[in-house]
């Protein structure tokens, strides 16, 4: 594995701007709400710019880990502050940057406890960034929990529907996940005998015996799988999405669920490849159940956010299916789908947020005919729905295409089922669009104002990303490939 140390610690700069942003927000007096928002936008903008820079400065021909920073922290335990990005984590860092920035802009109209909200939001995002860039198992676990706890407060304080229930459920589920991850990490640490938590040192093939890998893989897969809403552990996700405020829903569905999938990829798959091969069938079965199940359960929902929540379950099932194929295309497609789904759900929740802020309801039967009143706001949602259907021209199409292609090679039957499920997805997405935005305008909302350009900025960014990747997917695939190809080539068979 090639390692290229960073000339300037860009990754730490990203983390640092989150932390500095948080501290600045804490220092600002409570009453200056506008200033707090401006500061948030400023620092999240820095994060976005840095992540975009890292994304484009990444050397695509060299591959491997780049922008590496390594500082010994606790040498006796082998813990070090060890950051670096490769083709798998880079899209996720970019995704986090985009969702973070747009999430801050989406909450522009927040009026209650602004200071606390943004401070916690920055903590949450710092955890997410840290997890994606860390190469030390100990730090990965720490960042996981850092991103978890602000979530509870953010949902329980600023949430909407059944917020205490949703927040508690989410926290308990995710803690259950971390209760599986920690033993697995310590197990691997102990079994390696290397006295180090460094991911790169532990990634040597043949370091762990097959039985160790099988066991650790299962723990890590379920632990992170809970966060990725793998089928039987998915029910926290719709409830959590529904309860959370919109900006948090964006991070939650857009990025946090990716942490789960990324964790499965980074820890479970890359550290325990033999376990991966052994359990791949199980992963595939769970993923395919998730795909169908999310789509079908989504058909029955009457709350906009529940619909999106279930569609997320279905789409994350696609990611899982990609990961379970044990092929290069599967990995490529899965990572691409993670990115595309993150942007798409962020757009979804951002649009729903606008609608909910105006109408104070997410209940589909109470809406209806919104297209007449707020055409632009509706258009954003419709674009997200179309992306969710997997329409060509938007990013999700490519992720699904590549995953299905890989699935067809390995599990033809599952591939067929997954493709057929696209029809159900189309049905429920369009049904929601129809019931919410079409039909005669509801006189109750006749006085609503459409999205102003300023408030539309986050959605425009998201739509633009979806479109660009939809028309030029190689932009992302070229990056992912730098990690997936060497990894699959080095895979013991």
């Amino acid at each position: 594995m090639q390692m290229e140390p960073a000339s300037f610690p860009f990754l730490s700069a990203i983390l640092l701007s989150c932390v500095v942003g948080m501290i600045t927000i804490i220092v600002i007096p409570e009453e200056k709400k506008l200033l707090i928002k401006q500061v948030s936008v400023f620092f999240s903008g820095i994060c976005l710019l840095l992540s975009v820079y890292v994304f484009f400065a990444f050397n695509r021909s060299a591959g491997g880990f780049q922008f590496v920073e390594n500082v010994n922290w606790i040498p006796s335990l082998g813990i070090s502050y060890f950051n670096g990005v490769d083709g798998f984590s880079l899209p996720n860092i970019l995704l986090t940057g985009i969702v973070f920035f747009t999430g801050v802009l989406t909450m522009w109209e927040l009026e209650t406890r602004v200071k606390e909200y943004f401070a916690l939001y920055f903590v949450l995002v710092a955890g997410v960034f840290g997890l994606f860039m860390s190469l030390d198992l100990f730090f990965i676990f720490v960042w996981y929990d850092v991103s978890l706890f602000p979530m509870y407060l953010l949902i329980a304080v600023w949430g909407t529907t059944r917020k205490e229930y949703g927040a508690m459920k989410l926290t308990l589920y995710l803690l259950a996940g971390s209760a599986l991850i920690l033993p697995a990490i310590i197990f691997l640490w102990a079994k390696s005998g290397l006295d180090t938590f460094s991911f790169v040192s532990l990634m040597h093939p043949g370091l762990f015996t097959p039985s160790v890998q099988k066991f650790a893989f299962l723990l890590l897969f379920i632990g992170f799988g809970i966060l990725a809403a793998v089928w039987p552990f998915h029910t926290w996700s719709p409830d959590g999405h529904v309860a959370a405020p919109h900006g948090v829903s964006m991070v939650h569905a857009g990025v946090l669920m990716k942490i789960g999938a990324f964790g499965v990829l980074r820890l479970a798959i890359m550290l325990c490849p033999l376990g991966w091969i052994y359990w791949a069938k199980l992963m595939a079965v769970l993923a395919i159940i998730g795909i169908i199940y999310g789509a079908l359960a989504g058909l029955r929902q009457t709350d906009l956010k529940y619909v999106i929540g279930y569609s997320s379950v279905s789409h994350m099932g696609v990611v899982g299916l990609g990961l379970s194929t044990v092929t290069v295309e599967g990995l490529n497609g899965a990572v691409f789908q993670m990115f595309a789904h993150g942007i798409m759900t962020a757009l979804f929740f951002s649009s729903v947020g606008y609608i909910y802020d105006r109408t104070h309801t997410k209940n589909i039967p109470e809406l209806g005919g919104l297209s007449r009143i707020v055409p632009v706001a509706s258009a954003f949602f419709i674009v997200a729905a179309l992306a969710g259907i997997g329409l060509p021209g938007l990013a999700n199409f490519w992720g699904e295409l590549v995953v299905f292609l890989a699935a067809f090679k390995v599990y033809p039957l599952f591939g067929v089922i997954a493709v057929v499920t696209l029809v159900v997805t189309a049905l429920f997405m369009l049904r929601v669009v129809q019931k919410t935005f079409y039909g005669p305008a509801n006189p109750r909302y006749a006085a609503l104002r459409d999205v102003t350009p300023w408030l539309g900025v986050p959605r425009i960014i998201l739509v633009a990303v979806l479109l660009i990747l939809g028309l030029y997917p190689a932009l992302l695939f070229n990056v992912i490939r730098t990690a997936s190809v060497p990894f699959m080539n080095g895979l013991p068979r």
């Binding site: 290069v328 295309e329 490519w398 067809f408 029809v423 369009l430 005669p440």
Partner: protein, 625 residues
């Protein structure tokens, strides 16, 4: 097969023809939504450039011998190398001319038809989107690229059908259209993926030259051919996915003319023709296609016989004519299918645009009502409509006659005469329902009311002018296109295909067309006719046809009962009750057990004393032993 060397002029023309409408779409959406005139100008300008480029390409390459290919590889993933680009051969040169012509004419027509609509800009944006997608579809170099635009065409169809989104039925129809074509597309997609996995090549030229298919088992080719045909069934509204098309008539009439008769639904047939060499590798698949075409053709004809809605009659007739094309292709008549596609695009667009004029004027879709209100007084549309209907029925010397004769010829070439019989039956039905409609319009039973033509204002006249111009052009095309059969046959370059077939099917087809018109005259045209068709006299049959053979009921049942209230409900219940229930139960159990242990600490003091004493005693006992 190596393509001819690429010329930069060609490439520029192709790029202009495909990219300009897209940019006009973006420009309208982003910038000029508030200025309808600019939007329309942009869109029509783009369409005009498309038309110019298409005609230029056709003229320039009229003697094209080998397909021209421009492609760049759009690397989607490491193991996936799919060329994206243009493949130009004779078939799609013809197709892009047809598409861009109709696009251009319909957009001009829409200037009048949509003039007062609040969504004028949006309409033109979607039209541009459609133009882009359709042109790119026709020029696609690989099957995946074709699928890409295939779906986008479906999207624009969805958006345009549901254009008047405040009308619930329109949105319902749009959704139905999208989901039903999507069901077909799922099969198409699976077919593409299968093909890709087994051949590693989705290049259309390679597939057609069969070079990519070496060593692929025939059963597999049959399977993937049938799966790909699923997409055609969805897009061209063939049996069993045919019911979305009549519902799609909820959209604006020019949309119906453009998408749902002339071009988009014909994309299915185009795909068939596009992959014709590939499909013809599998005789089994071809006979399946033939059967599906026949069934759709007959079903749709029967439905058209009883409809009172002028647009729905033409919609059913579209399905039935598409059935004819698929029959022709399935029967091996490559040229017949393509030729019928071309002529049909002309006269069906004409029919819809004429109906659009009536609907715009009288604001009703009911045929009897239109006749009563005086549709026959509007000379240009009425004459055009009669021409179109005659062409549809296959009466000489209109274009439909020639193409239908070609279709019959290819059917007659089949060893089994069942198909020919079905085709002839279809010819009779077509003539019957077309002239039924014409006679109802021309000879209303009640007195003609309403003001005479020409009593409207100047603005109205401008609108009428915008609408009349395309009608005249299309009428001309309809009248004269038939005479270009031989040059076209040479251009498409399938020689030696017809000629040996006996001539009696041609005569029979003509006779049956005339007979159909005659029956329609007896029942609807002549003085004192009751204007009740023979089918309408048989109540069960009438209901069967009017209810579209209950196909919609079946789908409704499937979606509502089985999927919605059945499986989906089960999933939801499982979520709420089983998974959440068990998790919540686990939490409750934790709290409950805590409560149980807590009671030990909260009961009467003496129990606690007793507990302490007992434990001490037991400890002593343990220590003693």
């Amino acid at each position: 097969m190596a393509g001819s060397p690429a010329h930069s002029v060609d490439l520029a023309a192709l790029l202009a023809a495909t990219a300009l409408p897209f940019f006009s779409f973006l420009a309208i959406i982003v910038a000029t939504r508030g200025r309808p005139k600019v939007s329309a100008g942009l869109s029509i300008g783009a369409a005009a450039v498309c038309l110019g480029c298409s005609i230029g390409l056709l003229a320039f390459h009229s003697g094209l011998s080998a397909p021209i290919e421009f492609s760049t590889s759009l690397i989607a993933s490491s193991g996936l190398n799919i060329p994206f680009g243009f493949l130009v051969d004779k078939l799609n040169l013809l197709m892009i001319v047809v598409v861009s012509t109709i696009c251009f004419l319909v957009q001009v027509y829409s200037l009048g038809y949509m003039a007062k609509d609040p969504g004028f800009s949006r309409y033109y944006a979607f039209m541009s989107l459609f133009t882009w997608a359709m042109m790119s579809l026709a020029l696609s170099a690989s099957l995946l690229q074709l699928y890409f635009f295939w779906e986008l065409v479906g999207l624009s169809s969805y958006l345009l059908i549901g254009f008047w989104y405040e009308k619930w039925s329109a949105t319902q129809a749009g959704k139905k259209a999208f989901v039903m074509t999507r069901a077909g597309d799922a099969a198409f997609f699976i077919g593409i993926l299968l093909l890709f996995i087994h051949t590693g090549d989705l290049n259309i030229a390679h597939l057609d030259s069969r070079s990519a298919l070496a060593g692929v088992p025939p059963s597999f080719i049959t399977l993937s051919a049938i799966l790909i045909f699923g997409g055609i069934v969805g897009k061209s509204a063939q049996f069993p996915l045919l019911t979305w098309l009549p519902d799609a008539m909820e959209g604006p009439t020019p949309v119906s003319a453009l998408l749902h008769s002339a071009t988009m639904v014909a994309a299915g047939v185009y795909l068939f023709a596009r992959l014709y060499p590939f499909f013809s590798l599998s005789p089994t698949a071809m006979s399946v296609f033939l059967a599906i075409g026949t069934i759709s053709m007959l079903l749709a004809s029967t439905m058209a016989m009883v409809s009172r809605d002028i647009k729905k009659v033409w919609a059913y007739s579209t399905i039935s004519q598409l059935g004819f094309m698929i029959m022709a292709l399935g029967a091996g008549g490559y040229f017949a299918g393509v030729f019928h596609l071309t002529t049909h695009a002309g006269f069906k667009a004409l029919l819809f645009l004429c109906s659009g004029v009536f609907i715009h004027r009288f604001e009703t879709n009911d045929v009897f009502e239109l006749g009563r209100l005086g549709a026959r007084r509007m000379l240009i549309p009425m004459i055009s409509m009669v021409l179109g209907a005659a062409a549809l029925s296959g009466l000489p010397p209109l274009s439909g006659y020639f193409s239908k004769e070609a279709v019959m010829g290819s059917l007659a070439g089949l060893p089994d005469h069942v198909w020919l019989a079905a085709g002839l039956c279809g010819v009779f039905l077509t003539a019957y329902y077309s002239f039924r409609l014409i006679f109802i319009l021309l000879f209303p039973r009640e007195r003609v009311s309403g003001e005479p033509e020409g009593a409207h204002g100047a603005a109205h006249k401008a609108e009428y002018g915008a609408m009349a111009l395309p009608l005249i052009i299309l009428s001309t095309v309809t009248v004269f296109l038939g005479f270009f059969e031989t040059p076209l046959r040479h251009f498409i370059g399938v020689a030696g295909e017809v000629g040996q077939a006996p001539t009696w099917p041609h005569t029979a087809a003509l006779a049956l067309a005339v007979a159909g018109a005659a029956v329609a005259w007896i029942e609807f045209g002549r003085k004192g006719a009751a204007q009740i068709g023979f089918v309408e006299r048989i109540e069960p049959l009438h209901r069967l046809f009017a209810e579209r053979w209950y196909i919609d009921h079946f789908y409704g049942l499937l979606v509502n009962r089985v999927v919605d209230r059945g499986i989906a409900r089960l999933c939801e219940l499982n979520d709420r009750k089983v998974i959440d229930g068990s998790i919540d139960g686990l939490c409750e159990a934790t709290v409950e057990s805590g409560r149980v242990v807590a009671t030990l600490q909260t009961v009467m003091v003496q129990y606690r004393l007793l507990a302490i004493f007992a434990v001490l005693v037991l400890l002593a006992l343990y220590y003693y032993y």
